[in-house]
Amino acid sequence: MKNLTIKMLLVLGGVSVISAGFLGYVYTATYDRIELNREKRVKEAIYKVLPEIDDYEKISAEPDIFKGTGGGVKSGYAVLAGGMGFQGEITMMVGVNEEVNRLMGISVLESVETPGLGDKIKGIDFRKQFRGMPILRQKGIKVNAITGATISSDAVEKIIQKAIKDVKRIH
């Protein structure tokens, strides 16, 4: 009986130690690439919402806000913002012009919205309405919702409102 207890402890402990070591190895081996992929996606999203900038700098962390440089009048801020969608978290890059009175565009980084309905928030037909959309002093913005995907559309509106608030705080 006692022998069995010791054997069980040894096997469970041994298996856990080996798998922890193996995972540690794979984690260090893939860490750099995973970070690189994440940075690349953020960078691509910034250039997508502020297409005419030459470069950008990070001016705030959590919320992450980037200020585009160059591009003259077409420069502005890019804000990384997120919120709850229909099925899970939506992460978006929101572009705002320098005066913070117009949107420049949005780009969805991560979402798990329903394919064919909610995930149309990633499509150009939905996104193009934000290009140059005026930001009103009282109401902020008003989104034209996707038919059959009211919750996803409302979530996008809420995230953009939050992003605008974040920019105004530092503007």
């Binding site: 069995l4 054997k7 069980m8 096997v11 469970l12 298996v15 856990s16 798998s19 193996f22 995972l23 794979v26 984690y27 893939t30 690439r33 995973i34 992929n37 996606r41 899970g88 991560e110 798990v112 329903t114 394919p115 064919g116 309905l117 059959g148």
Partner: protein, 201 residues
Amino acid sequence: MLKEFIKGLWKDNPVLRQLLGMCPTLAVTTTALNGMAMGLATTFVVVSAGIVVSLSRKLIPKQVRIPVFTVIIATFVTVVDMVLKAYFPQLSSALGPYVPLIVVNCLILGRQEAFTSKNPIHLAISDTFGMGLGFTFILIVLGSVRELIGAGTWFGTVIFPTGPAGFKPLVIMVLPAGAFITLGLIAALYNLINLKVKGEV
């Protein structure tokens, strides 16, 4: 050895015969590519775990076998998750939270309990590999049907052009209900073919 491999493809197909691993089967098969990626990731995990379990089957006391299997499976799933994130970021974001959930795919634990913990390594490999491929095969079929009818595409290529005068995608097929309908019809077809072969219909 060949027999153990073949049985997972048709006779003991994990999805259609054993009805195991329904969660990923229903959830990720919105497109053929997602189905294939989930199938291959699961195949990798079930084969790797099968090899380890088969090799260490004499060392594991039967009282703690389930936690040991679970730790082994969870380790390989975490490896798959990290490798996908590092080298296939697009696929990783498409499969999203379903990759970590491979851990609870009962097909994988089921094979360890029913087969690899009682058989030598060469049989364990052919059994788990056959089961993995049988699983992948059905996920691709399911994903193809749902993608074709639900979006008019196959592996992302347009097959039925949509438009005012063209093909009208049936959105329900990419929603959860479409998964249940398609899986039910495929399982019925599978049983019909089996009965036909036996000459009972």
